[in-house]
């Protein structure tokens, strides 16, 4: 079997072709521009409606306006809300001069964290998904005793449809496949619920559904794509914060958008996951953020677990050779008289 270059790590020119699709459409994906997200959650609802994803628990989490908590088997879109006592470039929250004290964000976050742990939520009891401590948004502490400013960041998170998808790499049944659109899709009729994909995802996206046991995640609305429609979330997004299209086109658009925002003085704007040289070979669904990824509960430098496979095989090979030599030498050694 011939292994294509960069099949486990690094940029890939034709991700669908590499997966064995002959004639295939261009790679499709999402560009989620958080600078125009209004946090309406229409994406969450449209996704569930179209894909028949079940309810994910009636839990008041109190993470600002977020009661979803994170992505999981029954939440394929998740809108994160981050309240910060600092200024968003180019805007004015109107707090200066008011009789305010310290920010409440710090105390709130601590309570939210425990609420998150208590919440009986799909996948939670499997020890996966968004309930790991590193997924609780960081809350920067106000510098002075009084909060001087405020900003409210919103982000609609989704499966990244990685170029090198850890979930797909480790799936032993072939349930996870690369589609002709370059997206990563789980076939529920093949999934045996082993859960390897869950720990292989650097973002905590994919998860098993309680009572079902199989892995579920965003399909980028594979059925809609086949029918020439855009995914439900992008269709429902009123401000076009979620844009669907050819990945190359989206990357160009995102670069231009970043430039525009920077020109307007929004210096904190940055792209996340658009670079094919990153730890997962670039996202099929990438983002424009207004702060560090970690602030949104995203890993700053995600790395596909299978990146180290070649090195591991090499190491394993050396180890095996060593063992073989040792074993051989055992036979070669003259026996004690």
């Amino acid at each position: 079997m011939r292994i294509a270059p960069n099949s486990l790590f690094g940029p890939v020119e034709d991700v669908a072709g590499q997966a064995g699709h002959g004639e295939h459409p261009p790679r499709m994906g999402f560009f989620t521009d958080t600078s125009i997200c209004i946090g309406c959650k229409a994406c969450e609802v449209a996704c569930k409606e179209w894909n028949g994803v079940p309810e994910d628990g009636m839990n008041l989490l109190g993470m600002s306006m977020d009661n979803t908590g994170g992505l999981g088997a029954s939440s394929w879109r998740h809108v994160a809300f981050i309240e910060q006592p600092r200024r968003l470039a180019g805007s004015d929250a109107g707090i200066a001069g008011l009789p305010v004290g310290p920010s409440g964000a710090q105390a709130t976050a601590a309570i939210v964290e425990s609420a998150l742990r208590r919440a009986p939520r799909g996948g939670g009891e499997l020890g996966t998904s968004a309930f790991a401590p590193d997924h609780v948004p960081e809350v920067p502490v106000a510098e002075g005793p009084e909060r001087m400013d405020f900003r409210w960041l919103m982000l609609s998170d989704v499966c990244k449809h990685c170029t090198h998808a850890g979930c797909l790499d480790v799936c032993p049944t072939g349930a996870l496949v690369r589609s002709e659109f370059g997206t990563v899709v789980v076939q529920q009729d093949i999934c045996n619920g082993c859960g390897y994909c869950v720990s292989a995802c650097p973002f905590g996206v994919i998860d098993r559904r309680p009572g079902d046991g199989r892995a579920h995640k965003c399909t980028l609305c594979y059925d809609r794509l086949r029918g020439g429609l855009e995914p439900a979330c992008a269709k429902a997004c009123p401000t076009d914060s979620i844009q669907y299209g050819e990945l190359d086109v989206l990357r160009d658009r995102a670069t231009a958008r970043l430039e525009t925002l920077r020109e307007r003085g929004v210096v904190e704007a940055r792209l996340y996951g658009e670079d094919p040289r990153d730890g997962v070979g670039g996202f099929g669904a990438f983002f424009l953020l207004l702060d560090e990824p970690a602030v949104y509960g995203l890993p700053n430098a995600p790395v596909v677990a299978s990146r180290d496979l070649p090195a591991m095989w090499k190491a394993a090979g050396v180890a095996a050779l060593g063992l073989f030599a040792a074993a051989l030498s055992a036979f070669m050694e003259p026996r004690e008289p």
């Binding site: 125009i36 805007s91 004015d92 008011l98 009789p99 004290g101 709130t108 939210v112």
Partner: protein, 870 residues
């Protein structure tokens, strides 16, 4: 302002985001930092209920810095008109205008009128002064005493009694410092708003205002919107592209439900309902509507009204019987929803229909609503889901207190499941007056039926019941024309739309527009402003040609009343000579060659009336409109900076404190709107407000709004898992400062208390809430969403239980956007303990039925008269 557009109208908010991308500055003035604020250039906090002061401050800023669009103001507004010498302003009477009568809490408006050439300064005839309640005017067609006769004017705008000078003087004390003191808005923030707003003015630039129920649900709601209108007129932002004042509606097609109304005081097309005074006969009614020498298209109301009667009664309507005028009911006062509820409690109402409304949760003073529902003979509820207003006799909080006993409740409830909008054909009318047709997507299931089906068959059955009746009272029903096209048993919505469009009674031809309507009975029309929606026999509302580069107005997408005009009063987009104010803001203009108005939009002006046209001296109606009178529905053709008629509570907006406020009015001795509707009853207590004592018992400002994730009273969202899980509990938002003050913990329980109710909610401590400094005191605000109730997948206490009934005097809307409250940690008690808690609070605050019922507050209670400043 008064709108949380990104959360309550997210789909429409895409256009705001698009404007921002194109360089527009977007400002959000709101008590809370919301999802709207997060996307705006500037968020400006203010105290709930202080909006008129804020906007009045902008008016003052315009005058102080001479920033009005002078050419526009002089030509298109009533700025130059001279007001009667007997007029006295709030500056003269410390918060009251001339003509106030405390006994009736109302104004005689005769001294607010214009002076006419040659009338020698005498006031209008007594007949013109008869008290016409604000709700009785119908549309903007407030008649003008003296009609279109030559109004005395001063084009230099220098006369001390010209409208321009009166407005300037009225707002002179609304300084930035006063705004900061009353609203709690930091001075610098306020000045930023003034600078941005006034810079979007003049020939090249415009500004648009968006509001919603954050403005309307006040005892000063109508005047609040008037203040914005004054600013927009002064800045030349009315009738121009990118200008105007946009009302964000509370539901799909709420605009439609006022156009073809479900209101007691209006007939379709904003024609007033006949009252016992105006309803003597057709001539009396029409005289009252059109007035003698009135300018403008409202003068043709006879054609609109007679055509409506022809639509109602068909061949039974003739000139001999006043076209069936006597078959219409007459109003005898306020029959609005709140009056009706109190009448229900008092046993004066026997039956009630609730259609798509859940007053047990969604209306102010939930307890009174439920007690009213529990005191009927019968109640018909039509809704998508089983709502609290249908099950109140089982699960109302009053069942726990023993006030409603399930087995003994006398009301018989009939519940009819309703078809959803996807299950029926029909139209929606949105805020821009655009009528959009939609087809049926799926058949309704089970017993679900369309509203049209329900009313058609109800009417049919009632008509059958009275078909052989000899009773005179049944004659209106017998005369009613009720022969709509039906397929299967479903009446056809497009046939109804044809009847609304109107037709020629002789030929049956569908009319092209309201210009064809006649007062002689030869035309019929269900709603004159909708005439033309079926022009050419084509359902114009069903058109779907999107905007293209050549046609930014998308004139072939849907149909906007009147006459498919997208911008009302767009004659004002051109200068008095008919040329666009600027190339970038061109909308319609006068084509000298063709001798007609042309442009991108449908001109809102008589097509061939030249800008230079001057009406002959004794002209009336449209003929009396000059070529530079753009406001063609107004009795003088001008935009009203000052409203000589049409409003109950003054010709100019004035800052009054809300009915319940923690502070004394800093501007006048008059504390609250002196004409607001209050109902001093034991079951409708008010929290005390200065100058009454003990306001400190309810020290915080309470305001409510919606969440994106839920819809109004919750019947359409609490019942759906995908929405309910997104906001699964009733919350109360407080600032970290208030949380510290009252020992409230994030996600812990708290209860909010007023003199009416105590309800519990989970606490959300957030930096989005901020305390303000008002008159040197720190004022905290408390916010709650009002979507919760006893039923559904997620439940919670009804927030509207906290409010009492106090109403705007013009439109009878309740004040649910500003009240006072207390908040305490922990859950509320229930049953008798709850009643005791409320009784203790009322006792501490010294509340009686007199509390909040005094109108004129210039005189301290028990104090000597004459405290009013000269």
């Amino acid at each position: 302002m008064g709108s949380n557009m990104a959360e309550a109208h997210p789909v429409g908010f895409q256009w705001v985001m698009e404007a921002k991308e194109k360089g527009a500055t977007v400002i959000h003035v709101d008590p809370r930092f919301t999802r709207t604020s997060a996307l705006c250039d500037l968020h400006v906090p203010l105290r709930a209920g202080s909006d008129i002061c804020f906007l009045g401050g902008v008016v003052n800023y315009i005058f102080e810095h001479d920033l009005a669009f002078r050419d526009y103001v002089a030509a298109y507004t009533n700025a130059s008109f001279i007001v009667h010498r007997d007029f006295a302003d709030t500056e003269d009477l410390d918060g009251l205008f001339s003509g106030y009568d405390e006994a009736t809490a109302s104004y005689d408006r005769s001294s607010w009128q214009y002076e006419h050439e040659g009338d020698g300064g005498t006031l209008a005839e007594p007949s013109a002064r008869e008290h016409a309640a604000g709700h009785s005017h119908g549309s903007g067609g407030a008649r003008l005493e003296g009609g279109s006769g030559p109004i005395r004017r001063d084009p230099t705008l220098e006369h001390p009694r010209c409208v321009y000078q009166l407005v300037k003087r009225h707002f002179a004390r609304y300084t930035p410092e006063m705004v900061a003191e009353v609203c709690g808005t930091p001075l610098e923030q306020f000045l930023k708003v003034c600078a941005a707003w006034t810079s979007a003015s003049g020939r090249e630039r415009t500004a648009a205002v968006v509001y919603a129920v954050g403005w309307t649900q006040h005892t000063t709601g109508a005047q609040l919107i008037r203040t914005a209108a004054i600013i927009q007129l002064l800045l030349g932002n009315m009738g121009r592209p990118g200008g105007g004042i946009m009302a964000m509606r509370g539901h799909a097609s709420i605009q439609g439900s006022t156009d073809i109304p479900t209101l007691f005081n209006l007939l379709p097309g904003y024609l007033p309902m006949p009252s016992v005074e105006t309803g003597r006969d057709l001539a009396t009614y029409l005289e009252a509507v059109t007035a003698d020498r009135q300018k403008g298209f409202w003068r043709n109301a006879d054609a609109y009204f007679v055509s409506l009667l022809k639509e109602y009664f068909g061949e039974r309507a003739s000139a001999e019987n006043d076209f069936g005028f006597d078959w219409l009911p007459r109003t005898s006062g306020d029959h609005g929803t709140y009056r009706s509820v109190m009448d229900m409690v008092d046993g004066k109402v026997f039956g009630y229909f609730l259609l798509g409304q859940n007053p047990a949760i969604g209306s102010a003073h939930g307890r009174l609503q439920r007690l009213g529902l529990a005191n009927l003979d019968w109640l018909v509820v039509r809704d998508l889901t089983m709502i609290e207003s249908a099950t109140f006799f089982l699960d109302a909080p009053e069942v726990a207190t023993g006030e409603i006993v399930p087995g003994a409740c006398r009301t018989e409830v009939f519940f009819f499941p309703a078809a959803a909008h996807t299950e029926k054909a029909g139209t929606f009318t949105q805020t821009q007056r655009m009528v959009q047709w939609r087809d049926q997507a799926v058949e309704p299931t089970g017993d679900q039926r369309s509203e049209l089906w329900f009313f058609y068959h109800l009417g049919r059955k009632i008509k059958a019941l009275v078909a052989d009746s000899a009773e005179e009272r049944d004659e209106p029903l017998r005369a009613l024309w009720w022969d709509y096209a039906v397929v299967g048993d479903e009446p056809q919505a497009d046939d109804v739309l044809r009847r609304i469009n109107g037709s020629d009674e002789h030929t049956g031809r569908l009319l092209e527009g309201y210009g064809e309507l006649k007062a002689d009975g030869s035309t019929s029309c269900g709603c004159w402003i909708y005439s033309g929606v079926f022009a050419g026999g084509v359902n114009q509302a069903a058109r779907r040609t999107p905007a293209s580069a050549e046609d930014p107005y998308a004139l072939a997408w849907g149909w906007a009343w009147p006459a498919n005009r997208r911008i009302l009063y767009n004659r004002a987009s051109a200068d008095p000579s008919g040329r666009p104010w600027s190339a970038t803001k061109a909308c319609v203009w006068w084509d000298e060659e063709r001798q007609e108005w042309v442009g991108r939009d449908v001109p809102d002006f008589e097509k061939s009336k030249a800008p230079s046209y001057v009406a002959p001296p004794n002209a009336v109606g449209p003929e009396a409109l000059d070529g530079d009178d753009p406001f063609i529905m107004q009795a003088d053709g001008k935009g009203w900076l000052m409203a000589p008629n049409g409003l109950e509570d003054g010709p100019l907006p004035t800052h009054y404190e809300p009915h319940e406020s923690p502070v004394r009015n800093a501007l006048y001795a008059q504390q609250a709107n002196p004409t607001r509707r209050v109902y001093p009853r034991a079951d409708n207590p008010s929290n005390p407000a200065p100058p009454e004592r003990h306001g400190e018992v309810f020290p915080f400002v309470l305001t409510t709004a919606r969440l994106t994730e839920h819809h109004t009273a919750g019947a359409m969202s609490r019942t759906l898992s995908y929405l309910a899980e997104l906001q699964p509990a009733l919350t109360v938002e407080v600032s970290p400062e208030l949380a510290r003050l009252r020992h409230l913990e994030h996600l812990g329980f708290a209860h909010v208390i007023t003199s009416r109710a105590a309800i519990e909610a989970r606490v959300v401590v957030t930096d989005r809430m901020v305390p303000l400094v008002v008159q040197d005191e720190v004022v905290h605000q408390v916010w709650m969403p009002y979507h919760f109730g006893a039923r559904g997948l997620v439940t919670g206490d009804a927030v509207n239980d906290l409010f009492g009934i106090s109403l705007d005097p013009n439109v009878f809307i309740q004040e649910t956007k500003a009240a006072t409250c207390d908040i305490r940690p922990g859950r509320r008690p229930s049953g008798n303990a709850l009643a005791e808690l409320l009784a203790r609070y009322r006792a501490r605050a010294g509340i009686t039925t007199e509390t909040g019922a005094r109108f004129d507050t210039a005189v301290a209670p028990g104090g000597a008269a004459g405290e009013r400043r000269p």
